[in-house]
Symmetry: C2
Subunit: 211 residues, 2 copies
Amino acid sequence: MKKNNSNKNVIWHQSMITKESRQKKHKHKSLIIWFTGLSGSGKSTIANALQNKLYENNVSVYLLDGDNLRHGINKNLTFTEDDRKENIRRTAEIGKLFVDAGIVVLAALISPFQEDRMNARILFEVDEFIEVYVKCSLHECELRDPKGLYKKARKGEIKQFTGIDQPYEVPKNPEIIINTNELSIEECVKIISSYLYEKVHLMHHKGGDHP
Amino acid sequence: MKKNNSNKNVIWHQSMITKESRQKKHKHKSLIIWFTGLSGSGKSTIANALQNKLYENNVSVYLLDGDNLRHGINKNLTFTEDDRKENIRRTAEIGKLFVDAGIVVLAALISPFQEDRMNARILFEVDEFIEVYVKCSLHECELRDPKGLYKKARKGEIKQFTGIDQPYEVPKNPEIIINTNELSIEECVKIISSYLYEKVHLMHHKGGDHP
């Protein structure tokens, strides 16, 4: 057996696999699409539908859903302001790892505060962070109430609930606004995928469906 | 504009993109290879070299390096026992997301305690977690001391340093043991990639180099 008791072995062959190399391999840019909006506005649904569409178009794509993350990496966080901040920070940092891995990340979190969203944004390069404001009236979200959370919040059974006893700060300059009071899920997905195609050149035309 | 003020829109088209579907697309299984060992044992170097080899063989692979993560998602953690636990927990949870995304994850962390490594392991399915004990004598690691940390630890400038004033619990049943006192980096990589090929059937032979 060879004996290699030198530092030169330990620094041997460091990774030269860059984000750019991975993007080239995947044949598309990597970036994060950050969905923000009230509970029930349609973030997860639209992100899921968009994920399906991108996946079918051979985009390497992965969805980080706020609710799901709270069962895993963020399960030790509550809904206090500090923990909400940390929830968003961790999600953004994980998103950054996926973007570094050449993947298009969809992040769906209420993320009610401008400051937290800005802190997420600055982790990325300018053209890597696409904020999608999923706009929907509180009235409509309460009517939908898919998880029955508004009902509980109105009864006071849930505290610090965005839109009820905690504010939602409307994004100031999101890249995309989609109004789910007025648009179907399919229309919302089309708006975002058109943006990705035209503005970000996410997908090259390579024989698949035009997004 | 169509009005869609119903719950049925919100639950429309949930993701059906499973881990299995992603694995099929990538033409290989996804799993995590967990490198544990003393500082300076060669974890990061071997993981980097293995990553290069897998990448060249068209495996979707990503390296989670403990040191690098401490500049991002884990930057709010110290080296106390609780924070080390949390460091490992978060890394394992991130690894799980990548495995769910169909990616082969390499995680390189000292991870000195059996219990923490076991907590990481149980997040995964039985054949998804491959523990690689990067074995190297403390004497050899101190000779290498690639980051000058042992010198500082011996002077007492760093506290709770594994191998000096904090124990390293040798893995009881790791899938792979590689001894970097005796083997070259290239030999170490070959052992792991042979294991991945023969035991886990990570790679199908598809025209590329045999790993």
